[in-house]
Symmetry: C2
Subunit: 390 residues, 2 copies
Amino acid sequence: MPSLSVFTDVPLAQKLEGSLLKTYKQDDHPNKMFLAYSVCMTKEGQPWVSSMVRNIRLQIAQDPSLNYEYMPVMGMNSFIQASLSLLFGKNSQVIMENRLIGSCVPTESYGLIFQDLGFSVYEYSFWDSTKLCLDPSMLLDVVEVEVPRSETLYLQQAPRGCVFVMGNVTNCKLSQSQWIKLMSTMKSKRIFPFFDIPCQGLSTGDLEEETRFLKYFVSRGFEFFCSQSLSKIFGIYDEGVGILVVVALSNELLLCVLSQLMNYARALWLSPPSMGARIITSILCNPALQGEWKQSLEGVVDNIMLIKEKVKEKLRLLGTPGSWDHITEQKGPHSYLGLSSQQVEYLVKKRHIYIPRNGRINFTCINACNIDYITQSINEAVLFTKDSEK
Amino acid sequence: MPSLSVFTDVPLAQKLEGSLLKTYKQDDHPNKMFLAYSVCMTKEGQPWVSSMVRNIRLQIAQDPSLNYEYMPVMGMNSFIQASLSLLFGKNSQVIMENRLIGSCVPTESYGLIFQDLGFSVYEYSFWDSTKLCLDPSMLLDVVEVEVPRSETLYLQQAPRGCVFVMGNVTNCKLSQSQWIKLMSTMKSKRIFPFFDIPCQGLSTGDLEEETRFLKYFVSRGFEFFCSQSLSKIFGIYDEGVGILVVVALSNELLLCVLSQLMNYARALWLSPPSMGARIITSILCNPALQGEWKQSLEGVVDNIMLIKEKVKEKLRLLGTPGSWDHITEQKGPHSYLGLSSQQVEYLVKKRHIYIPRNGRINFTCINACNIDYITQSINEAVLFTKDSEK
């Protein structure tokens, strides 16, 4: 080599995620399966796409009146307005008072972004593996107890003044009084809320219900960030559509935040991609289409519940030890199987069923073709570990 | 206000660009016009779109075999391969030797990104306002002369070990020996080249010719980055399509760089948008469509030359003092008018013709409807400043 490479000292970056998927792909066992896809799958094992999306895509392509000029740096205004209505409702207080802004964002991996910005990132799970349920009191504990700043090496509790990212918080089923407790603790500890809404509507089919807690925070005078991904609830996976919402106490404060966001957006993508935003806007701004879309979402939710019921029933028929009610008590496509790490390991190693160490799978990956193999394998894993305990 | 806002100390960000466009928009003069759009315009004053793009978009929307799953984190592989072929040619040495990688990028504003990463950014222009031409010797001067690191406050020269971003370098018309001189200086000063190809083909219509210099750098054993924007040469402005290419001395070195890039891509956009990439791949991978697209590009180039000839001719007929040959001697849509800042100010303030301070305009913004007003205004500006010199 004639000259020295400038890349000589570039270290191999640690793989950030996807190693489970990679191992799955490298496995050549005929029965291998992957139950951790992030998107909803159809009964045929294909990524779900809302029924009208293909037609709308076609209509957009046929529309001679559309131009394909650069989008505004913050994204299509009509798209942002439609997304905000979905999150906060049409007659929301913050929208009326001009106390929020939305900007298109193409991202999903907050942990990585916060890390890159120099934050220390800690992950919390509110799954109680003994009681086999998502436990709101674990969430309250994390927020409540006061820890001095110096003891942040291994954080059991959220420190004063931190940013607290909450994803899928509806699945945690906080009571009214628990919400109030959470908010007053967050306020007194000056904890800044960052809500992540990855798939509004997919837990219950009721879009409004699933973001109602945002209104609580608004009415209690909170400022917060909220990111909403729309890719998964329309089935537009190849466009990465979503918005970032900033809620502030007044419109004047927002102007400065807006100016900062615009500079970031300008530097990072200049003009956000439009296709996904156009499809979603066409659907949300047409009441008939919006109704049809909501129905298609409800279909997904019904199907998720049906799969969970079937899994539970199959395990009951197999006589698998334990109650499996926790499967149907959890909402949404992603739920905990309630298996120990030893049982998970058995499924991966012996049965080639790839699931994360915490046992949280995507139930829509289970269908008529694989449900028997999966439930029999779970049964085996449970019996095997029961035997080895003796 | 009951509580203190966390946004109280957020400063209003300085507007990074677009203030000329903003002033133009706020102007309510009936004859106002903006000659600094970044994209090519048609004779009708609309953003140019390559003729087959609309049809391809329709075909893609109609294709039942396409799925809309997440893209690979680095982008559609067929799109990257097609873009690399456009840059380096099909049988290129680096492609054969696996010494380059490409990744989809949605960005255009390098200055801002480098600034955010902590670099000091200096801008150079190689327009000689006395000789009225782009002067390659000014480029050579900037790279050549050695400056100690401490004197970097106002940099006339590129310091040893810097990253040197070169955009539209073909328009500078370096001779073979000037290229060789440039490369040997860059090598000895360990200057890292970063080429930006914003609109390959729009200077001459000859795509291969305009990136030939990349082969010089490859054959001299350079490592470099190269960004290629494809939005403007297909007329897909709303999707921001482009790639970032990394050329290294060996395939082994690339693996580490690739792992780093993948982590950035995963954190920033997870899955790049696909529509623009799909359209471009469909065109580039079909020889007949590729030929048709190249013809449409040549049409744009011919039109640019025609507009420049007409502007020159109109100024000649008006008897405007000075030679205006520099207008037709420059290639591409964006060229210097060769006006003083006083003349530019006259055009903006008195005639409501919005052009940047350096007088570099987009000639495709001139059409049959506005050419007389523009040339008469230039004539007035030149005569006015001549008078005021007396």
